[in-house]
Subunit: 511 residues, 2 copies
DNA sequence: CTAGGTCATAGGTCAT
DNA sequence: ATGACCTATGACCTA
């Protein structure tokens, strides 16, 4: 009672906590042994609700989510699985009060477990305790005959019986706080949600237009591309008016040095994509090499769709920025620039993203939520054929193990391939095509000397990848244009007006 | 403000409301404690949206807009500022019911917060409490360096004046005899506590003004940064951050050593508050542990009131002394010093007195009569809501069992919290904030190692107490300002001219 | 001691 | 964009 001072005189503690022990499920401070497991109050209540109300959960992310102490955006399915894995038993009365509704619960459980137990022994560990583990898309009619509806919805059923129903429906903007960014950097702050990461996210929220409008353009070009000026300035008119032959003949007018171009492009990639690449690299490293399961917010399908659409805008934005910085690009007329940017953005997507498709799964993070589209989501969102195309093309590129610089030079070559796009200044396009080809070849020969992947054969493979990029670009753009993005999986719309992905057109026409 | 006015237009029955409480932000009927503040559904949702979506708000009217219950035409920026000012805090990890301890503090603070809000009414609702309302660079009347009275009182009531009117009176003459300022910074040319007594006293006669006048002024930061307002203009943010780091990087400019600071503050507390603490400790020990009934002089209620008012002067005086001795404080400009001292004295009161509230009674002794305000007197003098708030806040702090040193470091952190007070040299404030935070944390870790109250959780609790101090300070000062101190219990005056208690300004204005 | 229940508060929804 | 209403959560209570 001494306690030094008068600390013990204050009102007694209301709850008994065990600060030394932490929840076996979520690592929060435990409050005792519940249902046979050292658990916190939250997990205890969660387990009780899940069982008594027969709330079905489903994991959208492969079933290996981390169940941490952070309450928001925690995967409910994996939390419940963790409860079971740790050995929670609903009907096991260790101490304390005898469950009042034991009989009722027993009846429900027995009817269900007989159903669940029937197929096989070991695998149904997951389906113990009356917890449906099947895909939530399964209709309630699947429940066994002759018993009360095991999958009865606790609330009034709405039209959506699919996964939106079981995950909080979130609007795009509202979700930001739910983000559990799984950026594997271990330097996560333990305190408030105001971090530089979120700042960066908020920056990403700036629209494509304003971003590009504000961003300083190319470091080098003689002539700036200004999206605000609707009309051609004198300079631009003059440039556009050049005869193609004259153009090429102009000595030093557009003289490009290989070394300088390589240097510029390297810098450009770092500026435009550096952050993403760093984040994604680390993320992929953690997932694949460290075996860490990404922690993901529970989002509805609608949110995912929104994210994808907005992610496309992000791709376009970065593609614009990078193209504008390519040495020589500024010499195109404005119309040509517009055409080339808008007709190549899916090729740019493949260039930037292919490296992060491994093991049939994507390892990049999209949008302000930094959503990780694992294979589950990809299947939900994309048509099987298209998904197969994506996986095939990315795998083909991955076999080359291109560096980002090489990949972007390849993209430039694809962009500037004569005939691939209808532009005014075809001569300049041809010139750039050969220039960037020179750059790539000389890069391959200098940097990959005596490597396993080098030599004429390898160079041929790389140039073959050119075709992959171009075809992927053409096909995908044609495909995307027809999609109905309001429902998933995305399917071609019935004939009529194509969906407009915010981006290119806004970028050029927006004002 | 009549409640019945807007209360009548909503006869519709709503779910669960707390008709007695109104939103601390917009005075609409509240629906509970949200994010730590008694708030309505609207403000709750507004705050959540603002934080999670990082919606930038801009005030176009100077930042002092009235945030009323009417939704139309309400300034979003000022509404959000009000949310922050009332202490809303977004915890991205927690969900569910809020622990009772925190809840009761929130409720208590809110109740007399609204109390203080009511009578202030139409004139200046959101005066200079927290947020920068105007550019501090342009206030020549405040910092006029050439004028003979250094801190001439403004003749007309301005925002800067209302503080001085409601702060207790401190006469410099009384102060001089007691001052033993131990200026810690070696750059000071004052060594008041060191020389002979007479010498020191004669030096003290130079008064605080000259002391402050001599204190080195920091070179005004090139550009102020506002830590609160995050516009989406990345340029501004970048500049601000750069400016800050530049400032902080100034080598040797205001280099503070943690060990030295802790030592200095310890000494300072002992000098300023040592006698009081010894007396009060003994008194409390006798009363509580020995069971002795405190001897209580028989005084009239009027005497008690006078004692309390004068006691407040004592609080301010000691707060001044202590602040001036804090390492780093002298580097503020005089105007900043003045502002910070005058805007934090109730927080200082809580810091110094909380330990002596036990068992719903105060155990400190006030004034020359050493009056002990037992619960009876407290009830006589203070309004129930305010008393409850005092008891709740003191209890919250007492749970931490802070040592005086820890408590004063906490006070310093609260004082130096960027954005809490409008000062010119925000960079220095931020620097001191981090410095004193470092001091406190390292103190907690070294001295409380392996104690029951230690570890990250405890550190978080301590930092949480920061909010209690800050909010108690803000709200109480606002409340006290409206009181009619001529009769007991003290109640807010009816609209008329508020009581004038000259105080801090006198302290600086002196002779 | 804990099972089971309660309910205040978190975040999400959707008509306005 | 707003806010009345909704569900999920978990701290606390009672037996
Ligand atoms: Zn848990
Ligand atoms: Zn999961
Ligand atoms: Zn409100
Ligand atoms: Zn305003």
């Amino acid at each position: 009672m001494e306690e030094g001072t008068f600390g013990s005189l204050m009102p007694k503690k209301v709850a008994v906590w065990y600060p030394d022990s932490c929840c076996d499920i979520c690592t929060a401070p435990a409050s005792g042994v519940h249902y046979g497991v050292v658990a916190c109050e939250g997990c205890k209540a969660f387990y009780r609700r899940s069982v008594t109300q027969k709330i079905p959960h489903h994991c959208y992310f492969g079933g290996n989510c981390v169940v941490g102490p952070r309450a928001k955006g925690r995967c409910r399915a994996c939390r419940f699985q963790s409860c079971l894995k740790q050995g929670m038993k609903f009907d096991s009365t260790k101490m304390g009060r005898v469950p009042l509704r034991k009989r009722e619960v027993d009846r429900a459980l027995s009817s269900f477990s007989s159903l669940a137990k029937a197929p096989s022994g070991p695998t149904e560990k997951l389906s113990a305790e009356g917890q449906p583990t099947s895909s939530p898309v399964t209709s309630p009619s699947k429940t066994g005959p002759g018993s009360s509806p095991l999958y009865a919805m606790p609330q009034q059923p709405t039209a959506s019986q699919d996964l939106e129903r079981y995950s909080p429906r979130v609007r795009l903007g509202q979700l930001v706080n739910n983000v559990v960014i799984n950026v594997p950097t271990p330097t996560q702050d333990l305190h408030l949600g105001q971090g530089s990461v979120e700042e960066a996210q908020s920056l990403r929220r700036t629209s494509v237009i304003s971003f590009v409008a504000k961003s300083p353009l190319v470091p080098a070009p003689l002539q700036r591309f200004s999206p605000r000026t609707k009309h051609n300035s004198c300079l631009e008119v003059e440039n556009a008016g050049f005869e193609t032959t004259q153009w090429l003949a102009q000595e030093g007018w557009c003289h490009l040095d290989k070394e300088q171009t390589i240097k510029t492009v390297t810098e450009l990639i770092s500026q435009v994509h550096g952050d993403d690449y760093a984040t994604w690299d680390a993320f992929m490293h953690d997932c694949i090499l460290e075996g860490k399961a990404p922690r993901q917010p529970q989002v509805s399908l609608q949110v995912c769709i929104d994210q994808i659409v907005n992610g496309a805008a992000d791709v376009v934005e970065k593609h614009c920025k990078l193209s504008l910085g390519l040495p020589g690009f500024a010499h195109f007329s404005k119309a040509d620039q517009q055409t080339m940017v808008s007709e190549n953005w899916m090729g740019a997507w493949l260039t930037t993203h292919h490296k992060y498709y491994r093991n049939n799964t994507a390892y990049y993070l999209i949008g302000p939520l930094q959503i990780h589209y694992c294979i589950y989501w990809l299947q939900q969102v994309l048509e099987p054929d298209y998904l197969r195309a994506v996986l095939t093309c990315t795998a083909a590129l991955n076999r080359l193990n291109l560096t980002p610089l090489e990949a972007f030079l390849l993209l430039a070559i694809a962009m500037f391939t004569p005939g691939s796009t209808e532009v005014e200044n075809e001569a300049h396009m041809a010139f750039l095509h050969s220039h960037y080809s020179d750059c790539l070849i000389s890069l391959l020969r200098s940097s990959r000397r005596a490597t396993a992947q080098s030599g004429p054969d390898f160079e041929a493979q790389v140039l073959g990848a050119l075709g992959v990029i171009r075809r992927f670009n053409v096909i995908t753009r044609k495909y995307v244009r027809t999609l109905d993005l309001t429902t998933a999986p995305f399917r071609p719309k019935e004939g009529s007006n194509p969906v407009s992905i915010p981006g290119v057109m806004d970028y050029y026409d927006g004002f």
